[in-house]
Symmetry: none
Subunit: 191 residues, 2 copies
């Protein structure tokens, strides 16, 4: 009696790939162990699922490099390249593109609440970014400095508030008007 074994094909079978593939890396022992712990507790995964991006805790010693972990979560689609970016971050490097043309101002009004600009906030402003339509700008209008959204077309120019109780302002030829720069970042302190 011959032992014949017939091979049945089962195309399509097999373990499915992970949502996020892994890679073996060699790291300093304490760090490696911490990461393994997190993994065991499944915390490494849940950080991807949570409302916050996954983050990395770290310590910066002789400099102002502060740890940073970013992750954009979109369940399902594997996004092109790495949407993840972990590591350290230097606030100056990160927030200031042009050292020579950047300055700070502090906000005093509430007119831009809807875009997250509150009284007391500090704005980072770059003079060399073109003040195109829709940008938040620091504008001087008849001697007053304001922060507003720029709305312009061929023949009109508005400074718009982002707060319903404040009116938009149309800039006319007679106004003394100038743009100081484009707001790139809002720094909002929580007391």
């Amino acid at each position: 009696m011959t032992e014949l074994r017939i091979r049945k094909r089962k195309p399509g079978a097999g373990r499915k790939p992970n949502e996020v593939p892994t890679k073996a890396v060699r790291l300093p022992l304490p760090l490696a162990n911490k990461l393994l712990d997190l993994k065991k507790q499944n915390k490494l995964k849940s950080d991807y699922d949570g409302e916050l991006g996954q983050f990395f805790l770290a310590k910066a010693l002789s400099s102002k490099q502060i740890p940073f972990f970013e992750s954009r979560i979109q369940a399902g689609l594997p996004s092109p390249a790495d949407d993840l970016c972990e590591g350290t971050l230097d606030l100056n490097e990160y927030l200031i593109y042009n050292e020579g043309t950047t300055f700070f101002v502090r906000v005093t009004g509430e007119s831009m609440k809807k875009v997250g600009i509150f009284p007391g906030d500090m704005l980072i402003v770059d003079k060399h970014i073109p003040p195109s339509n829709g940008k938040i700008v620091i504008a001087g209008l008849n001697g007053e400095l304001t922060v507003k959204r720029l709305e312009k077309n061929e023949d009109s120019l508005f400074l718009c508030s982002e707060n319903d109780i404040y009116p938009d302002i149309q800039v006319s030829k007679d106004d003394e008007f100038s743009i100081w720069g484009v707001v790139t970042t809002v720094i909002h302190s929580l007391a």
Copy 2:
């Protein structure tokens, strides 16, 4: 002439052990790659504090002094006015109180809109600020990380959203709950 090869001992030779041993671990690809990058740049020095986590030690010192204006209403000179400069400011100095206990996270949800925290914003978090009542904190609840306002009294503890369409969460004794730090600053980028 005989070919005699005498074996000479060389005790004490050999590569010296690393200061900190390493270990191979398998991690999610993006995280692994970033860690490898840091390692290549030699930014992954080991100085580990037993506490929560992984400590990165970074190198390059950075301090940029950027002009700073206190916003005020006044007769405007329109030109890029360096004469109004009230001083300079270093973002790192200004925003980071405790280097060793500060970290960054990026926000992905909308639940804190009302306090100016929007998706995509970056938060500066300090572990060593006491999470007292009313503070905005980064909390881990049953494996998920969230940013919420802390409301606590003698016998109850709530994590409150600042967005009406999100519910508040009462933390019970059975929940796995921990506080990672208090949010000191929101960094909101305007595209």
